[in-house]
């Protein structure tokens, strides 16, 4: 790689990382408000918004690198220059690599491990009406797999749940499958480090569960009760006699309580419609405006000076 391209590459990655981090940290300040705001659009839309927010810092960084940094560099930087890359710039570029590499490596490792465990489980599993019944005593029911999702149920859960409960629980898992929630979960996990708040992920998880509950029950109150009782029964299967982690317990208990209460007393309020197309249009217009403004001679010169400072 020529020094010219090497500098461009380092500089772009450094800019990407800085913008990603700044947007991520700013997002951290408004996460709680964003979650409350998203809630009014219904759980499915709210979950999508959480996913979009999780990736927003990365996209802002990409935009800054591609639409601001690269054109300015190509315009102002001489092809032959003896300018050396400064340590901060190289360090920021390395941090960009780590910010993507670590989540990616951790997720890949997790996927491989999950697949190995899953294949070991499925070896002894019995398939009944499209549901894999596992013999191991894991009192749970889960949707597994990315592309070919399967519902995994332990024998214990099969024996425990009544027909209505099992029907509601299977509808819940199929709702996850139809929404491709495992794929979205993967997207969340591989999102780069950007300093944003972890509560975005928790909120996504909560909204996703709520959305699957809503799709499973379809407003049928009997089915809602059946699903609520299935949740409590499965949670009870392994309820410990003593609870050493009080804080965790309260947090988890609150989630289960919220889900059950939501199923038993659904809100009468109709979710507001989310102006998706308008928001997308506004974002594109804003990005276009920034991109064009950054190429104006005065702005471009300022950007170039800032980049020069970063390179040095």
């Amino acid at each position: 790689m020529t020094p010219y391209l090497w500098r461009l590459c380092c500089l772009s990655l450094a800019v990407w990382f800085v913008v990603q981090l700044c947007v991520g940290l700013s997002l951290r300040l408004v996460t709680a408000r964003a979650i409350r705001f998203a809630e009014r659009f219904g759980p499915a839309r709210a979950a999508s918004l959480m996913l979009a927010l999780r990736w927003l810092p990365g996209f802002c960084g990409l935009f800054a690198a591609v639409c601001v940094c690269v054109p300015t560099y190509l315009r102002f930087e001489p092809l032959v220059s003896d300018e050396e890359m400064g340590f901060p710039c190289v360090a920021l570029a390395c941090l960009w690599i780590l910010s993507y590499l670590i989540p990616l490596a951790r997720t890949s490792f997790g996927v491989v491990k999950s697949e190995l465990r899953l294949s070991a489980l499925l070896r002894d599993a019995e398939v009944q009406a499209g549901v894999c019944v596992i013999r191991k005593p894991s009192p749970s029911m889960a949707l597994v797999g990315l592309f070919h999702s399967r519902v995994l149920v332990s024998q214990e859960v099969m024996q425990l749940l009544t027909f209505d409960q099992m029907d509601a629980a299977l509808r819940h898992e199929r709702a996850h499958s139809e929404s491709r929630d495992n794929g979205k979960r993967l997207m969340l996990e591989i999102a780069p480090f950007d300093g944003s708040c972890r509560s975005l992920r928790w909120a996504w998880s909560r909204f996703t569960e709520w959305a699957a509950d809503d799709r499973a029950t379809e407003g049928d109150s009997s089915r809602s009760v059946a699903l609520a009782s299935a949740l409590v029964s499965v949670a009870r299967l392994a309820a410990p006699e003593c609870l050493p982690h009080a804080i965790m317990l309260i947090a988890n208990g609150r989630d289960l309580r919220a889900r059950v209460e939501r199923l038993l007393e659904p809100s009468d309020r109709t979710p507001s419609s989310f102006p998706g197309s308008a928001v997308l249009l506004a974002v594109c217009a804003l990005a276009g405006a920034i991109g064009i403004a950054a190429q104006q001679p005065t702005a471009a010169a300022i950007v170039h000076n800032v980049l020069e400072a970063l390179v040095d």
């Binding site: 997790g110 996990e189 299967l237 392994a238």
Partner: protein, 140 residues
């Protein structure tokens, strides 16, 4: 193999036939020596085979032992129910370890073994009331 409190917890179903027979026997008989176990087993086995099996189960964290004079006395570390519960909890926790990226599972309830029994009682009561309400509404 899932781990719990620094000790491995194996599933009963994952133990070999002889190991299962030995653990079953210890659940019934309580604390026993190698000799006691070999006498009470259905099939005649060499003393050393039983001793090795008990030792293996001890190393797997399934049994506890104490030395009385020159012999070891073995007891199950957990009751049948406790063993199943611990294994299940560790097993599902293993699936839900999000830090290591094992997250490609959408579970019916978020994590097993973290719910307060009082809370579950309360929720069950709410469900019962709601069910009654629906039944009353549906009756002509």
């Amino acid at each position: 193999m899932p781990w719990s409190r620094n000790k491995p917890v194996v599933a009963f179903a994952d133990l070999g036939p002889l190991e299962q027979a030995v653990v079953e026997l210890l659940w019934e008989q309580g604390e026993s020596s190698v000799q006691d176990v070999s006498k009470k087993l259905d099939r005649p086995l060499a003393y050393t085979t039983v001793m090795t099996t008990l030792d293996r189960l001890f190393k797997k964290g399934v049994l506890e032992r104490r030395q009385v004079e020159r012999a070891f006395l073995y007891t199950p570390r957990f009751s049948r129910e406790e063993m199943q519960r611990r294994y299940a909890s560790a097993f599902v926790d293993g699936f839900l370890v999000r830090e290591s990226g094992e997250m490609l599972f959408s579970c019916l309830v978020d994590a097993v073994g973290q719910y307060d029994a009082a809370l579950l009682d309360e929720l069950e009561e709410q469900i019962r009331k709601k069910r009654l309400e629906i039944e009353r509404r549906e009756k002509p």
